[in-house]
């Protein structure tokens, strides 16, 4: 399975709060806070609705003019950061 096909789900330990377009996530397990800017927040909302990584990437492509590869790299970077923080976990692709 390629990394790109990897889908994610929000960890049951993550609680998110939206403030003026940005998102603050608290990890119950570690009591550590994590901040997302407005783009990160849109990605988080997609994750909340159970979107596949490819769907999130398509949403980003619709929103931003940047080349696909750049958007993909940014998205995977954020996803792995969230995963390292324990806020999302890998799920099997649907």
């Amino acid at each position: 399975m390629s990394v790109r096909a990897q889908n994610y789900q929000i960890s049951p330990d993550a609680i998110a709060q939206q403030v003026s377009g940005e998102t603050v996530i608290m990890d119950l397990a570690s009591a550590v806070y994590f901040g997302l800017n407005s783009t990160g927040s849109k990605i988080w909302q997609q994750l909340e609705s159970g979107a596949a990584t490819s769907t999130i990437l398509a949403m980003l492509a619709d929103t931003f003019e940047a080349p696909h590869e750049v958007l993909a790299t940014d998205l995977y970077e954020l996803l792995s950061e969230l995963e390292n923080a324990g806020l999302i976990t890998k799920s099997t692709p649907r």
Binding site: I15, Q17, V19, S20, E22, V24, M26, L28, S30, A31, V32, Y33, F34, G35
Partner: protein
Amino acid sequence: MSYSSISDHHAMIFDTLRNEAYRKAIKAHIKPGDTVLDLGAGLGILGLMALQHGAGKVYMVDPSPVINIAERLIQQNKFTNSAVILQSSIETCHIPEQVDCILSVFTGNFLLSEDLLPSLIYARNQYLKPAGCMLPDKAIMHWAPVSAKAFYADKIDAWQQQPYGIDFSAVRPFTVNETHQVTANELAAEYLSESAALNEMDFCTAETITCDAASTFEISQSGTCHGLVGWFDARLNSCWLSTSPQQPAMHWSQIFLPLTTPIELQRGDQLQATLNRPEFGHWTWSVSTQNHQQRQSSFLSTPVNPQQLKKMTDNYQPRLNNPGNLALQILEMLNGDLSTSEIISQLSRSLPPGQQNKKTINKMVRRLIMEYTGTEPP
């Protein structure tokens, strides 16, 4: 609570039920000549009781200025055994010896509110003799699902009305995630099941003060569940003190944890509930039945400002702002050679015109002097 005024202490001093229990325990467990730490002494009531019952020496520690009144109480009551008053938090003071007993009332509502218990653990590790005693030495939390129709209508659903023609409904999601401090009378709850115990804590051995627990409630009374109510019992070595809503009231309140959506429960149903609270963190509670699940958290009860949040994250690289630079400059001047007025006037002259707000300088200088100067602990 700030504990800085007498009125903050009134309810505790006149809580006879609590104080009689402490007095009995002090009488039973403090031996003549014992050295005692009255941790968070307030007006010194527990330390004074210890002196009354023959303690040889009592250290009374509290950052609140009311601790200075304890000194007068010692004189007024003509105690000749020795007492040391330290206006400081336990973490910043120095006690030159180990003690036989630590007296404290660091058990907040539903035990963990106010986050005083980590300071008790600190005091124990730092100052308690190996065989020393702690009063209280144990505590246990309890909770139960309740129906509290009138309270819920008043405190939660009231935000859905439109008083003065203004729609306040955006407040409801915040208040439903708040922990509500209530008395049994205010909540007027109907209990839908037996209470469950959670998070038994032994203060003699605990290292962290957290809660991460789950309970299953067997519903014994059908009704609408509006939330859970929580309280605690503390053990004063040989007797238990209960802050249960079903016991005579003391100065503690219970805590009501509301549900976003009240749920109908039938006798025989099972309700699963979880409760999580890290040290100095937020309360998070969830309930689930066979076909329903919801979670609330005090994290969602106050909007976090993104600027503030950045400062809370681990990868933030802090840099002093203008007031920070001013504070740094002031701290460097607190070297024992300059008087307060000299510091203020030197600073006012040295700062660039835009930053010469004398009131701001005055306030900051005095605050830093209060906090960071004085005699070193012995």
